[in-house]
């Protein structure tokens, strides 16, 4: 059935159309089950179990014993479908669960992430994707290793890929575990391993081919799960049927309410005395206002730059464009990817606005700010989420009335609880769980595969055992996949950092060590092997060192104190140190060494032109 030739590819729209219809029927059945009295908890379990089983089934059908199917899905993924798969690959558990919450609490400043995580695709499309596709590589280090020549430069790029992707994957497995544990009602530590097994079932048998077709299926689930509640809540709280174009008044109203209630900053001592649980936030900044001052502008721009350049350097994204049938398809596919990402990202601020208004506006029946605390504490959803320490009330001034600065909640609650707050049926909350699970799984799949492919192809096959036959190569690839996944889950089970802190780090690592070696590999013929090695290593090491210096949790034990960030470059932005160093070192060392030989120059020339043979053959 999943034979990749003609029939299957031609029938993709029909297959995924049926799948989407089937999913809609499943949602309806769940809605009927809810009416018939099935408990909310069981509906959540069924949503997650049903969707995960479907992904596993797709993964099983896509099993393969061919190298190019395993590494690049046979290079037959059509433009639009690759766009959907990339969007799922891209939008992580953090995007799905935490993005709206970030906008909710961070307002305008936080939205630098939105611009950064979309604008980066312009760099992918213009500087990278079409050329890497023409090159015909299996992995990102495969390009660097062949373009610059030699095992050392290949190993250096695998090193950067490993650091960047591994930071990211622990956060994703963490998110998968969190959602699995909440939806299935099991402990977090167990949820992590349940999540890992789901991830491995989707990717182990079919590699990139299986990941591609499950990611398309996961995109469909996650986008329905995100958009349906946003549109529903919007019409329910009077935001209009099309929130993206119609929330102008609501944004203005939030400005008025901020004035009316006052934006108060709590002191750390007060919050500690009241026992506010860690990770919970309150509103202290404006929703749509732009903070004043040059430093605020720089903070916004520097974050956007890091996220954009990081996007264009992340191997698990770049490798999705190796799977298209042609160079022009790779270019178009980037555009489709961003379109599918846009559907979710442009909805996050709308959800944040609606959710904030629902809680803040005293004229709405859902409003809680300004009401008496004893009344608020008796609301069903407040009770539920307080009991798991996701929301918290602290009556600082002791007047028994809930003030804006006395209401605390975790960012995730915006996505997970707003349907409940707005009075939507529980079937929607179950759907949201399934969407979050799809988002976290699809990204984790792509990352685990990116790491294990680089290790199996670039380290094992290209460096250690170039004579290995296909069966042995694929066996090694699969064993590594399981090891990497298990290592990620093991680390995730310790819950070392919050989801977003480490996600931003992955971008900074990737940009420090990979952006310029990739760009210059195509755009500057004079770039040499020595230049690339020096650039990669100086970039990643200076970035890493700066992170250790600037991030208090590291700097206190290592450097014995808290350091003030240089030019406002904090731990979310350390790529701004690594990448420029990488660029300068790479140019200087390249110019000091002999220019690349004629064969290499011809290789670069061929890479720049869409037609003709790929640099690396179909089987390599």
């Amino acid at each position: 059935m999943m034979d990749m030739k003609g029939g299957f590819i031609k029938n993709l729209p029909k297959i995924y159309g049926l799948y989407t219809g089937g999913f809609a029927v499943f949602i309806l059945i769940m809605a009927i089950a809810e009416q018939a009295g099935v408990s909310a908890k069981n509906i959540g379990v069924m949503f997650v179990a049903f969707t995960v089983l479907i992904y596993a089934f797709i993964g099983y059908l896509s099993r393969t014993i061919q190298v190019d199917a395993y590494y690049v899905a046979g290079r037959q993924v059509p433009t639009v479908f690759n766009g959907m798969a990339t969007a799922a690959d891209w939008m992580s558990g953090a995007s799905f669960v935490a993005l709206a919450g970030g906008v909710y609490f961070g307002g305008y400043t936080y939205m630098a992430f939105l611009v950064g995580w979309t604008g980066g695709y312009v760099l992918v499309a213009t500087l990278m994707a079409p050329y890497l596709r023409k090159f015909g590589c299996y992995t990102v280090p495969d390009f660097i290793g062949t373009r610059y020549g030699g095992n050392l430069v290949r190993a250096c790029s695998v090193f950067v890929l490993f650091i960047a992707s591994f930071t990211y994957v622990t956060a994703q497995i963490n998110a998968t575990g969190t959602i699995a544990s909440r939806a299935l009602g099991i402990p977090f530590e167990l949820g992590v391993w349940v999540g890992l097994i789901s991830i491995l079932i989707c990717s182990m048998l079919g590699g990139m081919r299986a990941v591609t077709w499950t990611q398309v299926a996961q995109y469909i689930v996650l986008i329905i799960a995100y958009l349906l509640p946003v549109f529903w809540i919007s019409s329910k709280v009077g935001g209009g049927v099309f929130p993206h174009l119609m929330l102008g008044d609501e944004v203005a109203r939030l400005g008025e309410l901020e004035q009316q209630f006052g934006l108060v900053k709590n002191s750390a001592a007060d919050m500690k005395a009241a026992g506010v649980p860690g990770g919970l936030k309150y509103i202290s900044g404006t929703h749509s206002g732009v903070p004043e001052g040059g430093m605020a502008v720089w903070k916004y721009l520097s974050l956007a730059i890091c996220m954009m350049v990081g996007t264009a350097s992340l191997p698990h994204i770049l490798m999705r464009y190796f799977t298209t049938p042609s160079v022009r398809a790779a270019r178009k596919s980037v555009a489709w990817s961003l379109f599918f990402i846009f559907l979710l990202y442009s909805s996050a601020p709308m959800l944040a606005t609606l959710s904030k208004l629902a809680l803040m506006d005293p004229n709405l029946p859902t409003g809680i700010i300004g009401k008496s605390i004893s009344e608020v504490q008796n609301i069903e959803w407040v009770k539920n989420w307080s009991s798991v320490k996701q929301v918290f009330i602290a009556d600082f001034n002791g007047d028994g009335i809930l003030q804006l600065n006395e209401w605390f909640m975790r960012g995730d609650v915006v996505v997970l609880a707003t349907p409940e707050v707005a009075g939507l049926p529980f079937v929607i909350s179950g759907l949201v769980f399934a969407g979050g699970m799809a988002a976290a799984m699809s990204t984790a799949d792509g990352l685990v595969l990116a790491i294990s492919n680089a290790l199996s192809h670039d380290i094992y096959y290209k460096i250690i055992d170039p004579k290995a036959d296909t069966a042995k190569r694929l066996l090694v690839a699969r064993v590594l996949l399981v090891i990497i996944g298990a290592a990620g889950a093991y680390i995730a089970s310790f819950r070392l950092t919050s989801i977003l802190g480490s996600v931003a780090w992955a971008f900074d690592f990737a940009m420090s060590g990979l952006f310029f070696p990739l760009v210059l590999g195509v755009w500057w013929k004079r770039a040499t092997r020595a230049g690339a090695i020096a650039g990669i290593m100086s970039g990643i090491l200076s970035g890493l060192l700066y992170l250790l210096w600037v991030y208090p949790k590291f700097s206190v034990p290592i450097f014995g104190g808290v350091n003030t960030p240089f030019l406002g470059i904090d731990h979310l932005r350390f790529g701004l140190i690594g990448a420029p160093i990488c660029l300068v070192v790479m140019i200087v060392v390249s110019l000091m060494t002999k220019e690349p030989d004629a064969a290499t120059q011809k290789m670069v020339d061929d890479t720049r032109i869409p037609t003709g043979k790929a640099i690396l053959g179909k089987q390599h």
Binding site: P78, T79, V103, Y108, M111, A112, L114, V115, G116, T118, G119, Y121, V122, L123, A125, T126, L127, P130, H244, L245, M246, L247, G248, D249, V251, A252, S288, G289, V290, E292, V297, Y300, L301, A304, I305, M308, T324, P325, S326, V327, R328, A329, R331, K332, V334, A335, L338, F339, F342, Y345, S346, P349, M350, D605, R608, I609, P610, T611
Partner: protein, 85 residues
Amino acid sequence: MSNKDAYWAKTKNHMIVTLVLWAFFSLVIFMFGSELNTMSFLGYPLAYYMTAQGSLLAFVVMLFWTANKQEKIDEEHGFSEREED
């Protein structure tokens, strides 16, 4: 200048134009956030609108435009791939 060089020169120019547009929508306008926010679009303050939706939309449109333009450059120089997607 050979056909390949002419093709690459055009591709390079196109890349620069795209990146200038990209820098405008991702960086330049946000240098003037507070000024922009005094204006409004669809009832939203303008800087808020751009970071929540406007720039994102601009990137999407830009990517389809830039891919089409590059295909034209491919065709002009005979480097267009056979229709296979």
